[in-house]
Amino acid sequence: MTTKTKNTRCTKCILSCSFPKIKFDQDGICNFCRNEIYFTTENQSISNAREKILKLLNENKGKGEYDAIMCYSGGKDSTYTLKLALQKYNLKVLALTIDNGFLSPVAFNNINRTVDALGVDLITIRPASNFFIPLIKASAFHQIYNPKTQTRISSVCNSCISIINIAALKLALEKKIPFILAGFTLGQIPANSIFYKNNYTFFQESREPILKKLRELIGNSVDDYFCISDSLLESTESYPYNINLLCLDDPSEDEILTDIKKLGWIHPEDVDGCSSNCRLNAFNNFIHTKKMGFNPYELELSHLIRRGKLTREDALKKVADQADITSLKPILQQLGVLQEEIEQL
């Protein structure tokens, strides 16, 4: 058994030698591919989740103004999920987009074309840039999140997604909407987390150390975006379920792209190989790779390879299609970050 060797990737998936707890055998196959890590009952978990989700949807839909809020980024996965929610599960959906200031203009067109084609109401929230930019910098340059979390997502993406999650939860509680949908795929989330009750109080307790660090770095405005007011919580009788419908269908990337192109969806050119909507992703990946030694998409892409949903060659192309420091200049300028600050990481 060999252990970590510099510049080595698993010969079956694309996990690199810097990935935590990775070990390679004599054929260069990692312990993740050999099923030594992660529970192996994924298909059973999906099957259980499907049964429970269908029951929940049938019991709760059609009772209010909307059945579900869709966290809609305009990327390929959330576009496909929005279509699924309407056309396969017959849900009345309110789409919610967080404009972080870095969405590709093509992504905005995709969002508008999709909601128009599907007949969906859309709410867009743009966090104040005097909060969001410091949040991005704090996430990029400080150790905010659990290293475990960073095996599957970059710190900056995690901060942005946390804002989206809380905004969706606030809206769901205010409008008494029973479901929150997101476009996560298997690999981005574990199979036994395809759906869960969004018990804010319980989760918030575990997030407090993170919030404390963020408050110290960027001030108490963190609470406006990462917390829910006591008055809203006091009027809450039940929390919504978060559901990732895409995990139940488990389509390949080609199937997703073929389907959403019928809605007029176009792949943006100004994003990196792992994103289909956000220009900031290239910066996030660059910083993450520099800090952690591996691309934050390796876990997800490797999982897709193991499930036969993506070829290793295509996955390698995605992680190879990353920005260098020169091509990041427009983003650095928008963030007010100097090249030297990154080089010092």
Partner: protein, 82 residues
């Protein structure tokens, strides 16, 4: 009984969260120790429901029940005894 529950739980935790058994302090919070994040709590709760055939309602999702491996094992024992 408690030992069997603990073994199943530790088996799940070690295989799901890239951690060795020796790294887990049974009486400390796995979040505070950096073993899991809040998503890990969802994973564990779902695993417990499926593996031990119990229903974890919102009022039971508290630190007193999920704050450590020992607390989780005690919680499962109480739920199974009902």
């Amino acid at each position: 009984m408690a030992e069997e529950i603990q073994n199943k739980l530790l088996d799940f935790i070690t295989r799901s969260f890239m951690v060795e058994k020796e790294e887990i302090d049974l009486d400390k919070s796995m979040i505070d120790e950096g073993i899991i994040d809040s998503f890990g709590l969802i994973e564990i709760a779902t695993f417990l429901e499926d593996e031990f055939q119990i229903k974890i309602t919102e009022d039971k999702m508290i630190r007193a029940n999920f704050g450590s491996v020992t607390k989780i094992v005690n919680f499962i024992e109480r739920e199974q005894g009902k």
